[in-house]
Structures are given as C-alpha cells and as structure tokens.
Amino acid sequence: MQWKYWQVPKGMQDILPREAKRRRKLENLLSDVFTKWGYEEVETATLEYLDTLTLGSGEGEGLFKLADNNGRLLALRADMTTPIARVIATHMQDADLPLRIFYSDTVYRNKIQHIGGKREFKQAGVELVGIAGIEADVEVVLIALETLKQCTVQDYRLGIGHTVITELLLKEAFSDLAILTEAKEALVKRNIVRLEELLLDSSASLELQTGLKEIATLNGGTELLSLIARISDNAEIKAAVADLELLYSLIISQSKAGTIFFDFTILRDFDYYSGIVFEGYTANLGHPVCGGGRYDKLLGNYGEPQPAVGFAIALDHILATQNMEESNKQKIFLAGTYGPMLFSTALKMRSLGEIVAIDLTGKTYGEALDFVNKQQDMVLKWIEGEG
C-alpha cells in the first residue's frame, strides 16, 4: 500500500508547535512545584537491559525490546520508577537520606491501551526515598494534590488505597489459594459482581463478607477505616489503618473536605506497590490523571533495600483536561528595505524581551503585510533605509 504521507508506528506521536508550547509550559510548571518541595531532577537511560526492567515492572510483556550488537536484550523503559530505583542503587548508595528526586521523561509501552491508544507518553513525577514512615506518604500525597491544583485541573479528587490492607483482608476471607487469586483478579479487573459471588461461596464469617462487600463498593473518609478495624483483628492491618488515620488527619487539615477519600479497590497497575496507593481523578476525564504509592521492596532488587514512595502524572492527561486560555505573546515580524540591518535591530528588540522573527526573503512592504495578516498573533515592524 502506497501512503500519501509517511506514517509513524501506531501509538507514537508527533507534537506540533501549538501543543508543544502547552506541554513545555506544563512541564515547567511541574518542575517548579517539585523543585519548591526540595526535589532534584534526574534523567535516566532511555534503553536498559531487559533483565533490569523486568526485575521491577514485572513481566516484560508490555516492553519494547531490541537486541544489542552482542545479542543482549534491551528494552525501552515502561515507567520511570524502575530505572530510578536502579539509578539510586548504582549512583546514590552513599547519599544522605532521604533522597528527593523528580523526573519528566518519556516512557514506552508496547501494549495499546483502549484509551488514548498511545505507546509513547511523557510522565513527570517524584520519588521520595529512605523514609518508611507515613510522613513520607503524606508529603507525596500533598505534592500530588498541589500538582493538580497548580495544573488548574477542575474539580479533582484523590483516592487513597492500601495494597497491604486489601491483600490481607482478601486473605482472611479466602483460605483457598486458587480462589484467593481469582478474587484478587476480580478486584484488579474491577469486577465487583464476581468478587461478591466468590464471597458468598467462601467460608468467611458473615460479618467479614458484608464488611468486604462494603469496602469493595464504598469510598469515604475515616468511617471506612473504622469499618476495617471492626472486621479484622490482624495486627498488620490495624497498624496500616492507624497510619492511614494519621495521614488523613494531616492531609485533611490542608485541603477541602471531600478532596481525598479512601478506596481499597485502588491497586494500580504495577506489582511493586507495598503500602499506600493513590489515584487522582477529575470530573471530565474517564481515567485517572495521576497515580502512585509506596514501593518498599523495589530498591532491594538493585542493591541496598530502601523504603520509597512516589507518584507520576501523565502530561497528556493533564493537557486533555485543561481549558488553558492561550495567552500568546505577540510576535514581531521584522522586515525592511535594508537586510543586514534587520539582524542587529532584532537583537536589540529581543534583549528588551520581544519575540522577533526576521524576514529573510526581501519582502516588499505589501508582501510583508500580507504575510503577517495570515499569521496568528503577529505584527509587522517595517524598517526603511538603514533603520
């Protein structure tokens, strides 16, 4: 098939000036927020050894793979958290903790998701490494909230779950390993109907059954935590619940009521999460705008184990929700009868903060005016003689 235009592989994208400008602005805004919280930027290698990535992101199914000259398998990073864990284990073993790291980079997934259909997208986010306590979770959640606010996302909410609580509760309800796996899968696939069916058939106490059913369908504040504390005597769950209570009280004092809520069906896609997990939502987007959580076991894969928590935001998602009025600064088109003069005049004007593009084709006044009228946000500055 002969195409009229050159194609790019499915899910890859070209970003044209208008959009590139919005992206750049957003990226700057995000890096500002992260910097103000004391985070420092890192960039990681785009290509990694396949083994390195599969150790973090789980199976390599969703990775773009290619072979090195010596036959070793390479892969494009599918998330930033995994490469950053490797970077920390490699380069920052002796650094003082905690480490506060941010990034804004492109990730690649060799799996076309329904929504967006993209295989290449830009993510920005933070990782806070070296603190196991809930205070670190609070910091990261607060940064996520501030990010949403700064990005002028309208009417946003942040849902918080806890993978340990969810997993332990399921374990209490399902003693049969095969059924436990099925129940987890049902939850991951958001199939509450199936989970309820499995609960009905399980040997779990009626109290546990109804409790879990509520937990699987409700979201809310501390009342949801009380419910969990009521149905489980597990010490680990109780400790996690106490942590979340503290987190809630610390965050709620700084944000509008209803902005954060608990939801224990939130699990996130990556297997490495081992504590709180959260997702940001906004009313006019059908999927989460951002997400993250605690991953205390990931860094140990690459070196010294360290507790860590972080979150990432997909730039495309934010850009899709923003109704940013584009306040474009006017461009000046500098043209005139004496060519060489234009460069030095333009230089002076730029030093005063103007945006100046020079006529390089010797347009007459009429031609220059025609050209400018066809452009957006552009005015003509005409120089006669030697200026």
Binding site: R157, R190, N191, I192, V193, E197, G220, E279, N284, P288
Partner: protein
C-alpha cells in the same frame, strides 16, 4: 455539568427493561424510547441524561467516561474486555454461551454422555465472540482457528465453514432448527450495571445508592417470578 448522571442504555428489548427498573428506582423516563431517532434524553430537573446506543457500544461510552454508568449484557462485556467497574448483576436478560456442533458430530464425539471436545483440537470455530472463544480454548489448552462472523453463526457449522460454533443460546430453538446440538456450556450471562472508573469514585454516593435501589428492586422482582 458534573453533578449530572449520564446513563448509557442499550437499544431494544434489554433497554426497555432497563428503563422499567430505573423508573421503579424513581428516575424520570417520560418519553424516553430506545427505538426512536432521538439518541439523547435529558431531564434538567433531575440532572439525568440517557444515551441510547448499541448494546456493544455501552461499555465504550462508559469506559471513556462519556457515560457514568450503563447497563449491558455480560456476554457483550466479556467479549469487549472494557476497563469498567462491574458493580451489579441485574439478573435479567439471561442467556448462556455454549459450544454447539452438528448433531452427527455431537453423536460421534460423545462417549458415556461426555462430549470429548479435545478430539476437535485444531479445528475451526465460528463465533461472534472471538475473544470469548480464544479465552475459552486457551484455558482448555486447545489450539483452534477462530473465525469471526457477525450473525447467523449457525450457518457456518451447517455448511462446514467451521466445525463448531460458540454462540449465545437462550432457548436453543435456532440451534435445533439448524441441526445443531449444544455440547458444552461456557458460562451464563445476565445484564450488568457498569460504571466508569472515575465516575464511580467521583460520584460514588450517587451511583451506589442507585445500585442499592436496583438490587432491591431486582430481588423483589425475582421473588414474584
């Protein structure tokens, strides 16, 4: 706009039943029809909006968040694998997925009352539900050639385009008339209430209370059946 509840309703008979139970739950449905040219119905006072769409499109509208919730058969849902919350089994619109073969094939491969599906490994199967078929056979460890058709799937088995079909069976009459026998049940499907993953969190109270009401209504109905 954000406090509106947008509900995707499938066209046709299933959609009529959905409207009936929504009305029982106190939602406005006046003049809403699932077979008219009007595709969108809005109730300003109640802040409810209905989208009338093809059954197989309901999960798509919900997944992308154009509708907050919707009702769709589990058969369609299983085939589409949409990323939505499946929150309530409404119990109506029951049908089952089954493997069916020609009567003589059924006889030939049945031993002591058990159909030996495995003897048909590497054969062709025709279906409107290729994903359901792939999933079913891969769980069985069988390799099959799956042929996607858009309707009248029985025909494929009759003329030998395929050795078996996977289709939805409600009464089994169509199969019978075409000389086919259902040999294996895959699963049975009923209508499900589904929700967008963000709407379910942003409008949790609203959606859950409706879901609770529908659950009670369905339980009440089933009692009388």
């Amino acid at each position: 706009m954000n406090d509106w509840l947008t509900i995707a309703i499938p066209k046709g008979r299933l959609g009529m039943t959905v409207l009936e139970i929504l009305a029982e739950a106190g939602l406005p449905i006046e003049a809403v029809a699932t077979d008219s040219r009007t595709l969108m119905f809005e109730f300003e006072a109640e802040k409810v909006r209905y989208l009338i769409c093809r059954s197989s499109d309901v999960p798509t509208f919900v997944e992308y968040g154009s509708a907050d919730i919707g009702v769709v058969g589990k058969d369609t849902l299983a085939e589409l694998d949409a990323d939505v919350f499946e929150i309530l089994d409404l119990g109506f619109g029951r049908c089952r997925f089954a493997v069916a073969v020609k009567d003589e094939v059924a006889k030939k491969h049945t031993n002591k009352g058990i159909f030996k599906l495995r003897e048909l490994n590497n054969q062709r199967v025709a279906t409107k539900f290729p994903n359901v078929a792939e999933e079913f056979f891969s769980h069985k460890g069988m390799q099959m050639e799956v042929i996607k058709l858009h309707g009248n799937v029985e025909l494929a088995a009759c003329v030998g385009l395929a050795d078996m079909i996977i289709d939805i069976v409600s009464t089994g009459k169509t199969l019978q008339e075409n000389g086919l026998t259902p040999v294996i049940d895959i699963f049975s499907a009923t209508a499900r209430l589904i929700a967008n993953r963000v709407s379910y969190r942003m409008k949790n109270t609203q959606i859950n209370s409706l879901s609770q009401q529908l659950r009670l209504i369905m339980a009440e109905r089933n009692k009388h059946d």
